[in-house]
């Protein structure tokens, strides 16, 4: 292949990576701009994710039609190898970029670390076995989930904050530099920034994990993709049978082994080429001084197949430990607990199904206009980490909004129309009679009654006489809750003027979805 063509291919690969990265972030930001209704295609990346598809089939024993799209990259993998990782995956692009930033001269004798490379297959086996046993944790490690979650919860709010607090001060300043920044600020404000800074309880944890994954690229190129990514492992298993191959023209090759210099997995087509690890980045073609590497498409014959040498012991070991580990969430005390304190978004399926369907991607958190949906920590057990829960202290469920129900890619939150959502009971408001002003102080308050969005008012007034703190009887409009009308939207808890603990708050009492493990 001529060096001109090689350059072209390289440019194509990089532009494709940039394109998909931009597409991902364009859709992500679009998802979060609250004045745009979600239009069905913002979650499109997840539909091209065969790992999620596989786990979803195992967990729910049903096929979601849109996920059939994920068969397309699988078929293409049969032809082109792991092109998806090298050309499409936006998280791969980020890792690729940082591997390039952290690039250093190759250490001597840096060879393929087969044990590390095999790690991702073990992780894949673990995840699949655990899904079969009923514990669905693929979302923690799926690259799209990681990227979407980290962006929603940590990266975007952090960028939002820094721009607001650096550029905005500048936008009001009169110096020429800062005046120049004004249009940039106004553009970002209009298209990217949120009107209101979003806050998440776990920003720091998720942000640090994201940073860690990026800094791991310092030690090995594309660390996450090569050694951890279960989706990459799945593609690797299929790439084994792909038509794509790199061949060294032995007449030209001078055995310099320069081709392994920039290889993502430290291999080379010259020596131990591994089809299932090759990310089709074509760095080796560029590095070869003799142009001796050729792309060949051929039907893979059995003897030519590079085997993924996992070893029987590792496979059996990971299967057995998968079975063992998946039992732990099932025997955690939460499964027998008679009560629970967390709230799930409107339209959520029953708790057991929810944990199996939810891929912890955080799209519902991104789309929620009021910041109500937050990543869960330990409230719903270890298994439920980063699943969505509602925190009415931070936001409230907007009565005229059903965005989270529209966006969920795996239907853990089922699709509801606005009319259906208005009737969906998330929980019930409970009055703390030791705190409410209308009960203890003999004051009129009624902020919760004012905000209650149910047309009939689920919070109502009754005129009673209350002993106030001066020991006098006083006529007060006291609030009470009509449990049957309350939908648990949480605006009452959100606006309650008590500073310590809300005098009215939402509990999971009477929630519409079933709660059974």
């Amino acid at each position: 292949m001529s060096s001109k063509n090689i350059k072209l291919i390289q440019t194509l690969r990089i532009s494709s990576q940039i394109l998909f990265l931009f597409l991902f972030y364009f859709l992500l930001i679009r998802t979060g701009k609250s004045n745009i209704e979600p239009s069905g295609y913002v979650d499109i990346f997840f539909y091209f994710d065969p790992l999620i598809f596989l786990l979803n089939i195992i967990a729910t024993q049903a096929i979601q039609t849109l996920f059939l799209l994920s068969i397309i990259p699988l078929f293409l993998t049969l032809v082109f190898g792991r092109f998806f990782c090298g050309w499409v995956c936006p998280f791969g692009a980020i890792n690729h970029f940082f591997s390039w930033i952290f690039k250093r001269s190759k250490k001597k004798n840096e060879t393929i670390n087969k044990n590390l490379l095999n790690l991702k297959y073990i992780i894949l086996i673990l995840i699949v076995i655990m899904a079969i046993m009923g514990t669905h944790i693929g979302g923690w490690l799926d690259p799209f989930s990681i990227l979407f979650r980290s962006s929603t919860i940590a990266v975007n709010p952090a960028v939002n904050y820094s721009i607001e607090h650096s550029l905005k001060e500048g936008a009001n300043d009169k110096s020429i530099v800062k005046k120049g920044l004004k249009p940039i600020y106004e553009f970002t404000k209009k298209n990217i920034l949120k009107t209101e800074q979003k806050v998440y309880f776990q920003s720091i944890l998720i942000g640090m994990i994201f940073l860690l994954i990026i800094f791991l690229n310092f030690f090995k190129r594309r660390f996450f993709c090569n050694y951890i990514c279960p989706l990459g492992a799945l593609y690797g298993l299929i790439a084994k049978f792909s038509f794509f191959n790199l061949k060294v023209n032995e007449n030209k090759c001078k055995s310099c082994n320069l081709c392994s210099n920039n290889c993502t997995y430290n291999g080379s087509p010259f020596k131990d080429y591994m089809k299932s690890e090759c990310l089709v980045c074509f760095n080796c073609l560029k590095d070869c001084p003799e142009n001796s590497i050729e792309i060949k498409f051929a039907i893979p014959k059995k003897k030519n197949r590079t085997s993924i040498d996992l070893g029987r012991r590792k496979v059996v070991g990971s299967i057995l430990s998968g079975i063992f580990i998946s039992a732990f969430p099932r025997i955690s005390n939460i499964t027998k607990s008679k009560r629970h304190k967390f709230l799930r978004p409107p339209g959520s399926v029953s708790e057991k199904q929810f944990l199996q369907k939810c891929i912890r991607c955080g799209e519902c958190m991104q789309v929620c206009p009021t910041n109500l949906i937050q990543p869960c920590f330990l409230e719903s057990g270890i298994e439920g980490i980063w699943t969505p829960v509602l925190k009415p202290n931070i936001g409230y469920c907007e009565y005229e909004c059903n965005r989270c129900t529209q966006i969920c890619p795996t239907n853990a939150i089922e699709k509801l129309t606005i009319e259906e959502k208005k009737k969906f009971k998330i929980g019930t408001a409970v009055i703390d009679r030791n705190r409410c002003y209308t009960y203890v102080d003999g004051y009129n308050c009624g902020v919760c009654e004012e905000h209650c969005p149910v047309p009939d008012k689920a919070i109502r007034f009754r005129e009673v006489e209350v002993w106030n703190f001066e020991g006098k009887l006083k006529k007060v409009k006291q609030i009470y809750v009509v449990t049957d009308l309350c939908i648990g939207c949480g605006i009452c808890e959100n606006v309650c003027p008590r500073s310590d603990h809300p005098a009215i708050y939402i509990t999971a009492e009477e929630e519409q979805r079933e709660f059974n493990y």
Partner: protein, 296 residues
């Protein structure tokens, strides 16, 4: 100083401290007419009301920066009548621009998220089309303001409302659970920030304090559609009644008195009107108000 003089002055001084409203009543125009217009088009009746008040140029000077403060608090549609009717606003914006104003700003501190309420109320669209600056309430722009009230003393107010030359208050008349009604004076809750929920203890007094401590140049009450029950959010069309009326005056309290009458309630029974009357902000007796009725 003689003992008698000393006693006289000390009584005067102490009473003037006790009744700050006696000295601090610059915000209250006396004997100003209240105009009530009835008609089928919210746009036309508003135009008529402004004309009968003597025209907008009586209030707005050339090159003024004008703040129009409608009620955009809730994520509800025009038919649900929880926000100010955009057609009423359209007429006001036109008149203000015709009077020679340099710039008009529309802003409200909303209860639901502003991105939603500005859009669904239809106000953002009509305002932007007419070249009005639409602002969201930004908590970074809060400054302490002294209302000199009994209940509300220093309280954070959005700078935007203090930096303008003229302030036009355009509330919508509707039912309100804890305040009985929300009209002009209650609409001024949209200029304050902070923990507004805290103001709901003694809500009537807080409303009167804020209305008394802040200068309103013109109040135009949209009572074209009014929410009779389950306010201030509402949401059910059957709770909405067509009154097809607009009430306008430079005196905020007297506008509220007439609006309460339009709603069908006795003004004396509305706590905040009662408190405003005690602060001498206007007449509570409808027969004493300089009321003019028109049809358009």
């Amino acid at each position: 100083m003689k003992r008698r003089d000393f006693l006289k002055t000390s009584i005067l001084v102490s009473s003037s401290i006790y009744f700050p409203s006696i000295i601090n009543s610059k915000n209250v125009p006396k004997n100003s007419p209240v105009v009530k217009v009835h008609g089928d088009s919210p746009y036309k009746i508003t135009k008529k009301a402004i004309k009968e008040l003597g025209g907008m140029q009586k209030i707005i000077s050339k090159q003024d920066i004008v703040m129009i403060k409608p009620n955009i608090a809730w994520n509800r549609t025009i038919e649900q009548a929880a926000n100010t009717n955009p057609l009423v606003l359209k007429a006001i914006i036109e008149e203000v621009f015709n009077a020679g104003a340099k710039k008009i700003i529309i802003m409200d501190n909303t209860c639901h998220k502003p991105e939603e309420t500005y859009k669904r109320s239809g106000i953002e669209e009509i305002a932007k089309k007419m070249g009005v600056q639409v602002r969201y309430a930004d908590n970074n722009r809060l400054v302490e303001y002294d209302f000199k009230g009994e209940r509300v003393k220093r309280w954070p107010v959005f700078k935007d409302f203090l930096e303008v030359d003229k302030f036009i208050n355009v509330p919508v008349l509707k039912h309100h659970g804890s305040a009985e009604l929300t009209i002009g004076m209650k609409n001024l809750f949209g200029i304050v920030g902070g923990r507004r929920g805290k103001l709901h203890r003694d809500l009537g007094m807080s409303i009167a304090d804020i209305a008394h401590g802040f200068k309103t140049h013109l109040t135009i009450v949209d009572s074209f559609r009014i929410l009779k029950r389950n306010g201030p959010v509402g949401g059910r069309i059957s709770d909405v009644e067509l009154k097809k009326t607009v009430i306008a005056s430079t005196n905020i309290m007297e506008t509220d008195v007439i609006a309460a009458d339009v709603f069908g309630k006795k003004p004396e029974e509305i706590p905040f009107i009662k408190f405003a009357y005690e602060k001498k902000m206007g007449n509570i007796d409808i027969s004493k108000i300089n009321l003019k009725n028109f049809a358009a």
